[in-house]
Assembly symmetry: C2
Homo-oligomer: 200 residues x 2
């Protein structure tokens, strides 16, 4: 005897989530059975609604709830001459949380990875190039410090060879609060070669 | 700037699952955004349907898909004179997988834990006692080898003081394939005191 078909269906569907294996899916499905029906309906509803309501901003391709522009692109207090290019909407939230950036974003929805079939035409790169027709002064390539992130940055660096356009990248170095002893060699080497002069 | 409200709602709802923290909920919500709308609708539908279709068997309180009895209680090839008492429907599936048992089950939906407020009246114990009016010859108390499992077994052992009724418990011992060196003291001591004579 296995689980009843409708319970097995829920386990299979939950098991498709990233990072959710069969055991977790089983635990989640049994938890569902213990919840009030209205709570489960609310979850099901939230899932359907987010797919209906959420679209991509037609300028930066971040999530936009309603209308064609996301809140950042629609906000005229933001500096529209600087674009921070990121991999995903999660990264927009991370950079916003740092409060270090007052410009606009451009979400590529991925990083170059030819072996996995992610070629430049699969990313929102053409749309980024189109935005350069506007009064853009700087593009910040803000990707993960990984092979894919570096490859994407290098590829875009060559594409963005435009007069008077500054192309930059965030500094590599020791994470704040990080222990020198536990820093990997590459991080430490980049932290040292990118050292800052301390003014008195 | 945070996530759009409808996305935040999905993250909050997914974050209520057991074992799903804010980071996992975020990853799952962003995965939802990348899925085709019909796949998400199917998941939402499965959640609502399982709550609508699945009830508890009115004899053993295992999950039952339709009708009043679960497939095991409805199957007259099963030995209805032996009841295996377990904590949850997951345990029914585990014992069934072992193919070592051909009787019926009784699901308590929990183990005694007075500190957490789980007293005997919160479990399906009265319903178990009522089943003893039938021609029951043996009750197997098949719980986790934990404090709560042992306490529940001891409590039921006293309740089930009925003439001609055998009350048993599965053997404690070394798990098959387990390494003697890594067995904890209690397991090893129970394995030794419960040793079997090898016949030639």
């Amino acid at each position: 005897m296995n689980y009843p078909p409708s319970l097995q269906t829920v386990m299979d569907e939950l098991g498709r989530f990233p990072g959710v294996g069969p055991k977790s899916a089983q635990r989640m499905a049994l938890w569902i059975m213990r919840q009030p029906t209205e709570d489960v309906a609310r979850l099901a509803n939230a899932l359907v609604e987010v797919k209906e309501n959420l679209t991509l901003c037609e300028q930066c391709f971040n999530f936009a709830e309603s209308g064609s522009l996301c809140p950042i692109c629609a906000d005229d207090r933001r500096d529209a001459t600087v674009i921070c290019v990121v991999e995903s909407p999660t990264d927009v939230v991370a950079v916003e949380r740092s409060r270090a950036f007052g410009g606009t974003y451009h979400v590529l929805h991925g990083l170059l990875n030819p072996l996995e079939g992610v070629t430049p035409d699969r990313l929102r790169i053409a749309e980024l190039i189109r935005r350069l027709h506007g009064p853009i002064t700087e593009v910040i390539l803000c990707f993960n410090s990984t092979l894919e992130g570096d490859a994407t940055a290098m590829y875009l660096r060559r594409l963005l060879e435009v007069p008077d356009l500054v192309v930059s990248q965030p500094a590599n170095g020791l994470p704040v609060g990080g222990d020198l002893e536990y820093a990997d060699d590459l991080t430490l080497s980049r932290a040292i070669s990118g050292r800052r002069t301390l003014e008195v």
